[in-house]
Each structure stands twice: as C-alpha cells, then as structure tokens.
Amino acid sequence: MSDYNFAYLDEQTKRMIRRAILKGLAIPGYQVPFASREMPMPYGWGTGGVQVSAAVLTPDDTYKVIDQGADDTTNAVSIRRFFQKTAGVDVTEATSEASVIQTRHRIPEQDLRDDQILVYQVPIPEPLRFLEPSEVETRKMHSLEEYGLMHVKLYEDISQHGDIATAYAYPVKVEGRYVMDPSPIPKFDNPKLEMAGIQLFGAGREQRIYAIPPYTQVVSLDFDDYPFQPTKADHACDLCDATDSYLDELIVDDAGGRLFMCSDTDYCATRRKQGHIGAQGVPYGEDAA
Amino acid sequence: MISIENVSKSFVLHNQGAAQIPVMQGASLRVAVGECVALVGASGAGKSTLMRMIYGNYLTASGRIMIGDVDVATAAPRDIIQLRRNTLGYVSQFLRVVPRVSTLDVVAEPLLATGTAYDDAINTAQQLLARLNIPQRLWALSPTTFSGGEQQRVNIARGFAYPYPALLLDEPTASLDPTNRATVLEMINEAKGRGAAIIGIFHDHAARDAICDRQLDVTKYTPGLAA
C-alpha cells in the first residue's frame, strides 16, 4: 500500500495527535481537544480509537482489535484489516502477543504488561453530559473540580432502582483529580483500569483524547452506604468454565435455552486449549467453529 | 422614656403640582416610665401622623423623637427595626398579616422575633387569646377572615404579647363590646404597672379618662389649625 502514508494518516496529523496523547498522559483523565480527521469509516465505528492507534503504531508493533471482547466481529475485523493494509503491521488475536490493542467497550481479561498500549473507542467522552448539556459549563466544572453532579446521577440510580444501576460507562476519578468516563466498558472492568499498560481514549466525533498512565489510581465513584460493586452474571462460562471473566448471555434456541460465555474470546479459547471445559462445552478443536 | 422635641413634618405631593402641605410644627411631648398620655384633637389635627412619626412609619423633617436613647427622627432603618422589635410596640386599628398564618402564630410572632422559645411563645399567645375571648376553635385559623371586633382583639393580643417598654395605641378599644373593652383597659393598666410608657389615641372618652394620666391636644401643633 505505497499509496498511503504509514498507518493512513499523514505525519503532521500523527504529530498533532501524539501531542494530544502526551498532554493527556501528563494530565491523567483530562480531556484534550484535538483536530479529529475524517477517516474512511463512519463516526461511531471507532474513528477516535483508529486515529489514536494510527498515531502510536510503529512498524514493529503487533496489533489486536476487539469489539465487546471479541476479535471476530465485523468492526474488529475491519479495523484490524485497515491497519494490516495501511501500516503492514503484524496482527494477532492473542492478548499477550499484542503490543497495541484497540478495544470497543471491554478490557481484556488477561492483565496487560507495561509494554502494551490499550486504545479505547469512546462515543461520549464527557461524563457530566448526562445532567449538564452545556460544554462551557462542564469544562468549568472540571477545571474547578465541581463534581457533585456526578453523584446526583448515582443518587438518581439508587432512588429509582434501589441500587446503583449504572452498569457500564461507570464514572471514575483519576488520580484524585479528574472525573472521567471510562467509555462504555462494563463496570466489571473498572477495577482493571488500574493497570501496568498505557490506556489511551479517543473520541473521533467529539474530538477529544484522554489517557491513564500506567499504575495510576482510578477510583469508581460511589456512596459510603452504597459502595461500588463490579458485577457480572452469577454463572460460570458454559464453554471454558471460567468464573472470573465477564460473560455474554446468548439465547440459543426458540425454547429459551441460554448459554453464558466469556465476552473475551481470546481468554475463552486460551482456557479451552488448556483443557478447561464448561457445562455446555466440548474439548477445543472438536466444535464446528 | 419617650421624649419628643420640636418636631415638624410636611407632605410634598409631587404628582399634584408639588403641593407642599405642612402637617406638624413644633410638637413636643415627654412620657415618663409608667405614664399614659392621650393625644386629642379634632379629626385631621395630626394625632395619627404624630403616632406614625414616633413609630418611624412617617419621616420626621426636623426635631428629635427619643425612645430611650434612639432618635427615631434620624435613626438608620435597622436601628428602627431593632427598636420596634425590642422596645416600641404599636397597636393599630387595622390588622395587617400574611394570609394563611394561624392566629396563634400571629400573636406569638413578636415573642418569637425576640428569641422566646416556640412553646413558651405559643403558651403566652393562648393565654392572651383566651383572656380576650377569642374562641379556641378560631386559634388555628388565619385572622384575615375574622370579624372586625375579633381582628381588633387579635391585634391587641399581638401588641401585648411582648412587654414593650414603650407602647403606641391607636384606638385600641374601638369596636369592642363592654366585656372585652374592660379586659383591654385592664391590660393597658397592667402595662403601665410594669412601667411601660404609653401614648394613645382614644375616641372612647370614658376609656381615656380611666387610664390616661394626661392629655395633649395636638391641634396647637397643626399649622393652619392652631388657634
């Protein structure tokens, strides 16, 4: 693909994005505006994440893309192929082999190392937007650390549902300063936001980049009498028998038959290769897939 | 307690050709502790005007109106508010209250404003209302719907709830039946007894003679009317 610059974007644009990323890393959780470019895919398909990936990829990188934990959905496959073509980088589905992982709405089950980068696709970067429509006002609230409104949302949850019903995009406070939307990951993943890897968040339509440097304190907001609780389906994976992973629920027939399986396909496959078999599973390699 | 020296007042009606109407000139009066002085004079002579000047409701153009050590003629609004709260009571002919407030609360308010505990204030209010023969079934209602006589008695109860050292009474016994009139006179005497300095306007001559120590004819201070 000599028709394109390495990783599609021109070098000036990548420099601009890298500056935004560095600023984001320097001010953990702070939303840095950047001049988001038109990408050859529609907004909502991960244009923010793709631009961040393009800016951090080097020819030596190994790239992995997951969509809700899965490597094999349309969105994940498209983005992976995009960088295969425009950057010529190696790709993988194995979390441990990847140096850059772009994700939509999940954090891999396997702990990341300090030589790995996790790039999130973010639809709405502003956690305060739910209650305060004015961008001028939300920026002021961030700069003055006026975060009472965030708890109003949690209060509303408890008063309406008896518990904090926010199950994804659960707001966090980063390094005791900025309140941040971790993108629509399930709150099960929130504890994993404190990790060894670098986490970069890109919102293409909203033109914002923010970041969490390695080993940064990330606290999920809560009330003293309603503490934060990461939740998942109370079940083991029906394929690999894992009890510690986030599960998707599938309706498998017209009789209402259900199947719980790991949302992280690489994690599930790895366990099955190791010989773990769930309630409805078969040994690895013997199923149709 | 009350010392009025050489006060004057005139109204300027800007919207009626800036007509200047002098209404009071050179008025002087002293009322000692425990003394009751009646203001007399024909209608329009300025009895109510003088009362209102003493209360700070009308501005005084010149002269001094000392209540204790406060000169109402020159005091700042907040000093007059303080004076009205702690020192100077006023029972007017008309009841002016917030609609919807219960009669008990209306009567207890001067006590609450001076820091009396709620239960004690209500207790005093109940005693006063009972003494003035306001039926108990009315106590929880707003006095705005009461008859003229009832309103008048609520007004008196309110005016006497707190023991002001100085009291202004504007026709306190008007529209009262003999029994209640006697009660009110008794209350005024009690106020005198505890040392209140009182200035009153009474059209009820018998009442005036019964409780007032002196009379002051304000006609002599009324420009145009003075003989």
Binding site: L144 | H14, N57, L59
Partner: protein, 256 residues
C-alpha cells in the same frame, strides 16, 4: 456588628446605556431588603451584579465570609465565588425551571448542593432531602418525582428547598412570586417569612410587587433608570414616600 454584605458604589453599563449606577448599601445578618422598580429600572442587573452572575464595571461587593471576614466578591477568584454560591449564598429564580434540574427527581434536586459539598452518604442525603421537602410542604411520597410533574407553586417551593439545604446566610430572590396564583403566592410568602426568621437569613428580594416587599422586607430600595432614588424602612417608604416616582408607584397600586 459587621455587615453581612457591604455594597460600595456599584455600576454596570451596557455600552453607553446605564444598567445600574451609584448603588451602595449595607445588609446586616437577618435583614431582608427589597428592591422595587419597574421593568428596565436596573433592579435585576443589580441583583445579578451582587450575586456574581454579572461583573460590575465599578465598585465592590464585600461579603462577610466565614473564615476570612469581609472579602470583595467582584475581585475574588472564580472558584471561591462559585463555592460561595453553592454554600453561603442561594439564588431563587423567578422561573423555577432556571433554578431546578427538570430531569432530576425532587430528592436529587435538593441533594445536589449537599453532594456538591462532598456529602457521600446516600441515606443521610435522602433523609435531609425528605426533611427539607417537608419544610416546604412537599410530601415525602413526591421525593422521586421530577419537577415536571409539579405545579408552579410546588416547583418554586422545591427551588427554595434546594437552595436552603446547605443553610446559606444570604438569599438572592428574583421575583420569587412572579407568575404564581395569588393564593399560591400567599403560601410561598408565609413560608419564606418563616424560613427567614428560623434560619436568621439575610435576603435581597427583587420584585415589582409592593405587597410582597411589605410582607417580607425590612428595608426598601426604589430604583428608576438605573439609579436608587429612595431607600428606607419598608413601611415608611410605602406610607410616606418622598420621591415623585415612589409616590406615583405607591399610588398606582390597585386597592382591594
């Protein structure tokens, strides 16, 4: 005694036009001051300058802060000023929808100011919200309803509860009874009077309704064309007005 608010020579211009000018007064703890005047007289401009919503072109607005005594709120930093407006100050808007979050429940509306000063116990926040709703005569079973389901009078009472929950010392009110039915107004006025006394609140009330200031305000300031033309005790200004305009204003009120 130190004044709670000391206003010195405030002026605000809109280009060549005068918003308000040469305004000065002291407000003491527990005092309620009314500002009256017709539309365009500058009373709302003045209120917004005092409450930090507008920056005056001249003058000082000194507030007796809890920790540092009198501080000029015009020159203090924005975070400090915003902190004041969440804690020691309250602002009651004429239209409840300007002062409420219409998509948040009544309890959430009242609780917001508590959470803004770091209340983090849901049970406590809710108990306080219930207590305050009760004080403004909204029953507990409405706590999870949104203000959109409330009548105009209830919305206004909710706004007051939301403002007073942090026990402010100074309340700014912009036509608090405007647009309400007369019977609803009376109830609200009664409520406000009670709260002002119980909490020893100081308040500045802007209104064009002379009956409102007669019932609520100790002192009165009459404005015309951006200037203060008369001040004094409320009943004195209303019963013995000195300035031609005040006389006109008072005599224009319909008697009932």
């Amino acid at each position: 005694m130190t004044p709670l608010l000391q206003v010195e020579n405030i002026a605000k211009f809109y280009g060549a036009r005068i918003g308000c000018t040469d305004v000065a007064f002291d407000l003491y703890p527990g005092e309620v001051m009314g500002i009256v005047g017709e539309s365009g007289s500058g009373k709302s401009t003045l209120l917004n300058c005092l409450a930090g919503h507008l920056t005056p072109d001249r003058g000082a607005v000194r507030f007796d802060t809890r920790t540092q005594g009198l501080r000029d709120t015009v020159t203090m930093s924005e975070p400090e000023r915003r902190m004041l407006s969440r804690t020691d100050w309250a602002f009651v808007h004429q239209h409840a929808r300007d002062g409420l979050r219409m998509n948040v429940s009544a309890g959430g509306n009242v609780g917001e100011r508590l959470m803004a000063v770091n209340a983090r116990h849901y049970g406590d926040i809710r108990a306080k919200a219930i207590d305050w709703l009760g004080r403004v005569e909204i029953t507990e079973d409405r706590i999870d309803d949104r203000p959109t389901a409330f009548s105009g009078g209830m919305q206004q009472r909710l706004q007051i509860a939301r403002n007073l929950v942090t026990a402010p010392r100074l309340v700014f009110m912009d036509e608090p009874t405007g647009g309400l039915d007369v019977s609803v107004q009376a109830r609200l006025l009664d409520l406000l009077r009670g709260l002002v006394r119980e909490m020893n609140l100081s308040a500045i009330i802007v209104t064009h309704d002379l009956a409102v200031v007669r019932l609520l305000a100790d002192r009165l300031m009459v404005m015309k064309d951006g200037h203060v033309i008369e001040t004094g005790l409320t009943d004195q200004v209303l019963d013995d007005p000195q300035h031609a305009y005040t006389q006109l204003l008072v005599s224009s009120v319909l008697q009932v």
